[in-house]
Symmetry: C2
Subunit: 325 residues, 2 copies
Amino acid sequence: MKVMGVEDGWKVINKMQVRGAPAIAIVGCLSLAIELLNNNTTEKKIMRQEIEGKLNYLVSARPTAVNIKLAAEALLNLANSLNADENVSVEAFKERFITSIESMLKKDIEDNKAIGTFGCEAILNTLKCDGQVTVLTHCNTGSLATAGYGTALGVIRSLFESNKLEHVYCTETRPYNQGARLTAYELVHEKIPATLIVDSMVAALMHARKITAVVVGADRVAANGDTANKIGTYQIAIVAKHHNVPFYVAAPSTSIDISIASGDKIKIEERPEKEMTHIGEYRIAAPGIACWNPSFDVTPAALITGIITEKGVYAPDTVMKVMSC
Amino acid sequence: MKVMGVEDGWKVINKMQVRGAPAIAIVGCLSLAIELLNNNTTEKKIMRQEIEGKLNYLVSARPTAVNIKLAAEALLNLANSLNADENVSVEAFKERFITSIESMLKKDIEDNKAIGTFGCEAILNTLKCDGQVTVLTHCNTGSLATAGYGTALGVIRSLFESNKLEHVYCTETRPYNQGARLTAYELVHEKIPATLIVDSMVAALMHARKITAVVVGADRVAANGDTANKIGTYQIAIVAKHHNVPFYVAAPSTSIDISIASGDKIKIEERPEKEMTHIGEYRIAAPGIACWNPSFDVTPAALITGIITEKGVYAPDTVMKVMSC
């Protein structure tokens, strides 16, 4: 689907044709930029009003990811100040606004590369001696979830590029199979040594093989370090704790929502039953069975070893410090 | 498929058209009974030899379930003694041997009903006050996995019949979806209030809702109480422990293999990758990705609250006592 404006942007996000918290923010804002390019408003005040309305609309497409909410807040602040500045013409307003959105793309990739470097270092530091690591990841946090490179998958890319990655295991990530479809695709494409497991095999895997660390992404990190991420993340964190495997969250600082004190305040999106009962149009569950389909869960800070951001790795209870860096 | 003899019996078990440890034993032995009905051997010695060979063949169809192995041992002992007894004609040998197999069907249902009653009592005893319970189960252990009624699902049926069941959650049970297909079917069919979740939601469920207990089946219980069951069981046991939810295994005493000291000695079957990468002929995983597909895992005795058998409920480290009852 070609995205021609915010209505298309909202749809591709809501229907999960674009997913992954950083990609949601970027695609949403780019859909606004496209719309503004075709906007012939001659009054800055009206342009500002339209921007505010459209940003609110875009944020409503998926409730759990925070990045688009923070991006919308920053863009609204920019629109307000451009509107207030009498030296800025309506054309300059438009141009500077669109340039600001375009720069988000570049910054996301730069941030991901920094996350990759910090994460690679943190995981190698857990090794008692020199050697290669084996990591497990969940869902998709790669090029298909960000502007490029990836967050958790960026860490894995960085380990691979440093010749320090022995193997990566990725979970299927039911019910939407982002692991089996997207992460597996990226890993095969880049020839990274990888094996797919179903979500219920994590404990058996940690018992059978040495896993150096788990690294996952985040949709929203609360001020106390509690982390909302793809359903199943909390379960993996419990299982990692049981096996003494370090558990890392990799996310840009824009995933940290200091307005939310703790994880129980994060709104968890519940999605249609059909995602669980069907593969495409093919029904895989017995007719008539009820389903519970939360898209995310919250991993308490106590189960997280470190939060890897573009500014460094933070213990979850010190994640607020990232905001002052 | 119509089962005409042990070759057909082996195939339906190996291809998982029949699954569930008790059902495997019964269908395997019944396939031998059918073959014997059409056997015109006039010598008991030859009949005994044929029985031994065919039992060994049947046991090889799936390596992890123990019930068929123990049933085969018992039937071989019977064949040996009928062969040795000079007062038994070849016709009487055949008749008594077939009758013995037929009685396994009846005994399995009786055992399951006893398991249901003991399990129901044990789970209700965990309640601090009078009320209803909410339980979680994994895989399928019902009428479609046994001769009838079921083991873990027998406990759930018994709770429902006693009007003590508030709700049951069943896991999808990837990669073969026995929960979504079979357990969900049985629950809908019997109008038992039930909700399907994907395997990765167990921790989120235990955090969000009060789960009274987990009850699962077993493919093989070692002498120390370690239990091999459907992949994902070990993970659920860890998550249950983390949330202080009692974790029960329901299995007939024929699932207990006293010849195996502990779980690490249980052979775990690995099945074809296609079970994970495809739904029917539809590919759901990225082409080229490697898979790990163990069908079972081992839950250590320390994570099990009790083993519910037809003779009573045993602490896992005392499960050997069941053999002397």
